[in-house]
Symmetry: C2
Subunit: 415 residues, 2 copies
């Protein structure tokens, strides 16, 4: 049996006892792991220094380097994250429904762990402990495959977690790390159907697409966000400006940031100059279609390609439409199934937008930036699903669970 299969087999064995742990034991263990991370902070910082030194030598950009770097304060934040997960309600064990059939069978639907969760992610060491916490809380074993840039940090963090688990009497195989970060091993990992119940990629479009193309394990696609805001002909301009400003500029590099505006032609002359002024002040470059540029010629020209792009940058595209029908068709053509918003004072326009836009989260008069597990009240987030199976939108603890039917009989046989 090769190394990868041994890891799979260990996770498969670990899930049995993990799935049966009670809430009290799970929460005590999460607190113990949180304490252990703080207690071993210097060891973790040492491992992290090996990664950041190598990254600097390889000329990693400042932004990425920042995401890779740990400090005492950041390690404390990781611990605090685990304590927050401990404080959340445990979804495991609830019986969601139980009905009696005409033949007397009692059929119940019980929430249970998925089993073994695989996570493939990029260079952020905080993901390592976050994901462990969410999987452990939901009774799942997890196999982590982080990026090579982060391997020294991950090795130490996982070692500390495993030791803390052992000292709590929990199987350390609740969390395992693939230390071989080669692409070949990642691809073979994606085919471990026999051991892994679900695979969740967290990272850029390239990583996600590679997992979707190669995995034979069921995947929850977490995704890119080409999010739109549609300014209706009956929009409140002040509200529209505030929401667009927030959705575009509050954080540039996130999947729920607004990347494209759709503006009703009836308000173009009046509204667009206000918008250009507001966004220009925030150093946002506007790429507009012909009609919008006729109003504000200082804007760059948008190509068809711009409408399909998730910039994650100081750029936004603008499309002019003559009707809500046209706006909805445009958005449903270019959106990535993430978050879409309408700004309107008109009831019918709002209801129609909510009904007809095909996306995980559809907003009336609010910023797309709210699509987030914390903001939705889930307390924690494993990612934002942009696909339609199993989970859609921000995924909280429940996304890491499945159900099984439990059936109480008294000797029934099928006629």
């Amino acid at each position: 049996m090769e190394a990868l299969e041994i890891i799979g087999q260990r996770a498969k064995e670990a899930k049995v006892s993990l799935g049966l742990l009670g809430q009290t034991k799970k929460n005590e263990t999460l607190y113990a792991v949180a304490d252990a991370l703080c207690a071993h902070a210097s060891e973790i910082l040492e491992g992290n220094k090996a990664d950041t030194d190598a990254a600097k030598k390889n000329g990693m950009s400042e932004g990425l380097l920042d995401r890779l770097t740990l400090t005492i304060a950041r390690i404390e934040a990781l611990s605090e994250g685990l304590r927050k997960v401990a404080a959340l309600p445990d979804p495991i064990g609830s019986v969601l429904s139980m009905d009696q059939r005409p033949n007397g069978l009692m059929i119940g639907k019980k929430r249970v762990p998925l089993g073994v969760v695989g996570i493939i992610y990029e260079s952020r060491p905080n993901v390592t402990s976050d994901v462990f916490g969410l999987c452990f809380k939901t009774g799942n074993a997890v196999i982590l495959r982080g990026g090579s840039d982060c391997i020294h940090s991950n090795i130490v963090i996982v070692k500390v977690i495993r030791e803390a688990l052992s000292s709590c009497g929990i199987t350390p195989d609740a969390v395992q790390l693939l230390t071989d970060t080669s692409r070949e091993t990642a691809t073979r990992f994606m085919k471990l159907n026999q051991y892994v119940d679900v695979l969740i990629p967290r990272g850029g479009a390239g990583l996600i697409s590679s997992v979707v193309q190669n995995s034979t394990i069921p995947v929850i696609e977490t995704g890119t966000g080409n999010c739109h805001i549609y300014v209706d002909k009956q929009a409140d301009f002040t509200m529209a400006l505030d929401i667009i400003d927030n959705a575009k500029t509050q954080r540039l590099g996130v999947c729920n940031a607004c990347e494209s505006l759709v503006i009703h032609s009836a308000v173009l002359n009046e509204f667009f100059p206000l918008l250009v002024k507001r966004l220009t002040e925030k150093n946002i470059v506007i790429r507009a279609d012909e009609r919008a540029r006729a109003v504000c010629p200082q804007c760059e020209a948008a190509t068809e390609e711009d409408f399909g792009r998730e910039y994650l940058d100081r750029l936004i595209s603008v499309k002019t439409v003559d009707s809500e029908t046209e706006a909805i068709a445009h958005i449903n053509r270019y959106n990535t199934g993430h978050s879409e918003a309408i700004i309107t004072e008109n009831y019918d326009a709002a209801m129609r937008f909510l009904n007809e836009i095909d996306a995980a989260a559809v907003y009336v008069n609010a910023s797309t930036r709210f699509t987030d597990g914390e903001e939705f009240g889930f307390g924690a987030e494993i990612g934002i699903s942009t696909q339609k199976l199993h989970a859609r939108g921000p995924m909280g603890l429940e996304a890491l669970t499945t159900t099984k039917y439990i059936i109480f009989g008294q000797g029934q046989v099928r006629k």
Copy 2:
């Protein structure tokens, strides 16, 4: 654009209007399609005759030929199936929850169609109209890829459905059939991520494995069933015999039939001879382990391989265990995640089995044959999921839906 992509594009366009259809219109249309199938029965029988003639020439087995053959009575049953689906409650449009966040945002979770459903299935023409009915009721467009053995029947059935849809003012692209039944086209179909939201294979292990290996579209795996019944040391023997007889012999070729027995050694001497007598009378061949054969030497010897087999035939394997722990470990090792049962009068044994067995349906004192959409009270079934994502166990109409978040704001922006 090649033919397959045109079909995908048409389905993607069709899903927009289908998702907005009201319940009344959908139900009226299902009744109209049901009437049309009966009205065109002779045309359908003619198409079916082309398939059965070819099948006879190719030496198709009697069982398969029977499943392929349509009669007036069977066409009436298809129509009746559509009328039954019309009578079921429509899951679309329900808002499952709506909560107000501290910032005043109202966040609701609304049930909506998946969009475009792909189905790959084998030679049963009844699947064609069944699957159309379930997908249409849930506002989905469906692309069908049936077997080549059934192609003439399917062409006529789909033509009749499409004409009926048109005369109801519904886009006929609600249902499309891939008339090219080559393996290459099937494989390309499995990669139409851009158009198809979910792919459901219905058929044997080979078909399902091919879809899991090749599809880049999210798959709901419907599966094989290596179902066990565990006879505990405190089992009621009469109940055990009746349930095992029913689960093994009521229908041999179905996924919820029992394929393997696990017997506690404490009752082996007393119970096993009774069981051998009962099953032998029903012409079932028993393949038992050493210890069971010591009690009834007339049984065949079971190999390790037998314990992993879904016979779908007049065969059953028997494993002897010394404890429930051993029984659970054996079942969790060999089961395919379908249906597992314990026969016991002991409360702790029952509860432990329900907690620790990892399968879609876990039974106490009832036949595994009940794992079925109709028996579970769903009214209809698209298949039985043996995976853990999205849907597990019998899938009713809800398995063909997803949710989207609808958010009502008053200008909120994220801090």
